[in-house]
């Protein structure tokens, strides 16, 4: 009984904690922008010399609008233009990159504001000189404890008013500092810094979900081939990329977690089952005389078998019930005191309950069979 209780409780608790961790790992992985689709100009040959894609200028705001209008399964799009330079605030300065984006950018990159506001569509239309700063830039330009909101900084020659602060994101997987960032309307970069108003460096799109990103990619390709008026025999003059590496990582992580959880659950239930078998063996031995008596007053082998089998199933189901309650309690306890994310799924409860019944039958069968095969004479005389 205790074995099955502990077994089931362990399964429920492990599943709850495991599922919770799995979900939070997935959330944090998708927080890295797993739904992101990156569209870049494609490298090409020009007079025999290969030139990198970024030197090419094929993407324009027309493309952005076409995708926005026609693509299926996307929930955000932002053009991207950037320029390197020196950010200056009073006596301090810091070499960084200013990135011109649209308002969707925060959603696409899963960025949040720690303070202040995002720039508006009006700011984009008017090429407003406003910016959002990442933590690294703030640390290098402002004194400790100084509030940057409302203050002015310069990027090269251009003054910008700080209107928001981005929540720190830390380093990316590749060692890139994601907080070394200045965001501003893309029109501001185009009109006031690079003075290149037609072409975009890239376009960022976010698909509604990880699953939708493949079909969205295909749709975007078709749309871009149309807007670029490419003949069927011509190669794409752009490159559409998803976060394939991230996606692989996410799916391998979740399948690893699943295997881990399943094996823990399996081992716990196996132990519980062996517990039941032991209990039943002891029960059969202890009650040998009773079995002998029952047989002498007319119980057939099958009657005894059923009696002990039903007993085993009752034990395991009762144990399972207590175990489920205990497991839920334990996982709530973990959630309350250790602040781990937990997720109690109905399927894990139903599954462990079901497995409990099966365990009862499977491990109860042998002791019950042993009982039913006892010789009544021997059993009656058993001390």
């Amino acid at each position: 009984m205790l074995g099955i209780i502990i077994g089931v409780a362990a399964v429920i608790a492990m599943m709850a904690i495991g599922q919770g961790s799995k979900q939070s790992i997935q959330t944090s992985l998708s927080g890295m922008g797993s739904n992101m689709i990156n569209i870049m100009p494609k490298g090409n040959e020009m007079g025999g010399v290969r030139i990198g894609g970024s030197s090419f200028q094929t993407l324009t705001m027309l493309d952005v609008r076409a995708i926005q209008r026609d693509a299926v399964g996307i929930d955000g799009i932002s053009p991207l233009v950037s320029s390197s330079g020196q950010a200056i605030k009073a006596a301090k300065n810091w070499p960084t990159t200013i990135t011109g984006v649209s308002t969707d950018y925060l959603h696409i990159r899963q960025l949040t504001l720690q303070d202040g506001i995002m720039f508006s569509e009006t700011d984009i239309l008017t090429s407003a000189k406003v910016c959002l700063l990442g933590k690294t830039v703030i640390d290098n330009l402002f004194a400790n404890g100084e509030n940057p909101i409302g203050q002015y900084i310069r990027f090269n020659q251009t003054p910008f008013q700080v209107i928001g602060i981005l929540t720190p994101k830390g380093q990316s997987n590749f060692g890139q500092d994601q907080d070394d960032i200045i965001l501003t309307p893309y029109t501001t970069v185009q009109n006031r810094i690079t003075a290149s108003t037609i072409y975009l460096q890239s376009i960022l799109v976010s698909a509604v979900s990880l699953a939708a990103s493949d079909s969205a990619t295909a749709g975007i390709k078709t749309i871009l081939r149309e807007t670029h008026r490419l003949r069927p025999d011509e190669d794409d003059d752009f490159d559409v990329r998803t976060q394939a590496e991230l996606i692989t990582m996410i799916s391998s992580t979740s399948s690893m977690m699943t295997v881990l959880l399943t094996s823990i659950a399996g081992i716990s239930l196996l132990i519980g089952g062996i517990g039941i078998m032991n209990i039943m063996y002891v029960s059969v031995t202890e009650r040998t005389r009773e079995i002998g008596l029952r047989m002498s007053i007319g119980a057939r082998g099958i009657d005894i078998l059923m009696q002990f089998l039903i007993e085993a199933i009752m034990i395991s189901i009762t144990g399972g019930l207590i175990g489920v309650l205990l497991g839920i309690l334990a996982s709530q306890f973990v959630a309350l005191f250790i602040h781990w994310p937990i997720l109690i799924s109905e399927s894990s409860i139903v599954l462990s309950f079901f497995v409990c019944g099966i365990t009862g039958i499977f491990f109860g069968y042998y002791p019950a069979l042993k009982a039913s095969k006892l010789d009544p004479i021997e059993a009656l005389r058993y001390e």
């Binding site: 009773e290 008596l293 047989m295 002498s296 007053i297 007319g298 119980a299 057939r300 009657d303 004479i377």
Partner: protein, 248 residues
């Protein structure tokens, strides 16, 4: 002559103990008619227990025939034997063998659980009737540890009676009881016998045997003596004759 309940012919039972063959019964023949009260006596090793096991359909003879109420036991399977035990024989054991933590009534009803003809109401009714027959209907809800040894044995007798068996088979049923209680049990047995129950009682006490109508004495797997009891004692009178001071 009344109906023959139990008929054994040249019964032999051998056990193989390693290399050796132990002959527990070496050819026994006797028959018991309805309404008889037979005691089977013998010292240990005389084959008493082996005979009892065979009579109780717990064991089968190696040779010879055993007919219980006209059924030849030798040809039956394990399950058929169980059915026979359930309907034709009522067992009473030396150690009572009641289920602990189970009320007297439920203990009495137990054999009916293995007889599909009866529903729970009928079980209850028959159980109460059997308890009345042993004068314990007022203790129906008591568990065995709330009953005295004699009362427990009476519950066991009620359990043996419930299926209305053709024969009550008692194995040293008074062995665990003091003289007075033994006499009480024997008085009950005689009463049941007078109502027509056939009783086969295994004992090694000549005192107890004197209450029966017939005594079979076994020795070394053979019948040494099979005699009708000329001066059968009444257990009730014997009970009254016991000095009262025994109680104090």
């Amino acid at each position: 002559m009344s109906k023959i309940i139990l008929d054994i012919q040249n019964l032999k039972r051998e056990f193989l103990m390693g290399e050796e063959t132990v002959r527990a019964l070496r050819g026994i023949s006797f028959s018991v008619s309805a309404g008889e009260f037979v005691t089977i006596m013998g010292s240990s090793g005389s084959g008493k227990t082996t005979l009892l096991n065979i009579l109780g359909c717990l064991d089968k003879p190696s040779e010879g025939d055993y007919l219980l109420d006209g059924v030849n036991v030798k040809k039956l399977s394990r399950n058929e034997l169980a059915g026979l035990r359930n309907t034709k024989i009522g067992f009473v054991f030396q150690a009572y063998n009641l289920l602990p933590r189970t009320s007297a009534l439920e203990n009495v009803e137990l054999p009916l659980f293995y007889n599909k003809q009866f529903n729970s109401d009928q079980r209850r009714e028959k159980g109460m009737k059997a308890l009345e027959a042993v004068k314990l209907s007022n203790r129906a809800d008591h568990t065995p540890n709330q009953l005295s040894g004699g009362q427990q044995q009476r519950v066991a007798i009620a359990r043996a009676l419930i299926n209305d068996p053709v024969m009550i088979l008692a194995d040293e049923a008074t062995g665990n009881l003091d003289t007075r209680t033994s006499y009480e049990i024997m008085a009950l047995m005689q009463e049941l016998n007078e109502k027509g129950k056939t009783i086969v009682f295994v004992t090694h006490e000549p005192d107890i045997a004197s209450f029966s109508s017939r005594t079979i004495i076994l020795k070394d797997g053979r019948i040494l003596k099979d005699s009708l009891n000329e001066n059968k004692r009444s257990a009730k009178e014997a009970l009254e004759a016991l000095p009262v001071s025994d109680d104090q």
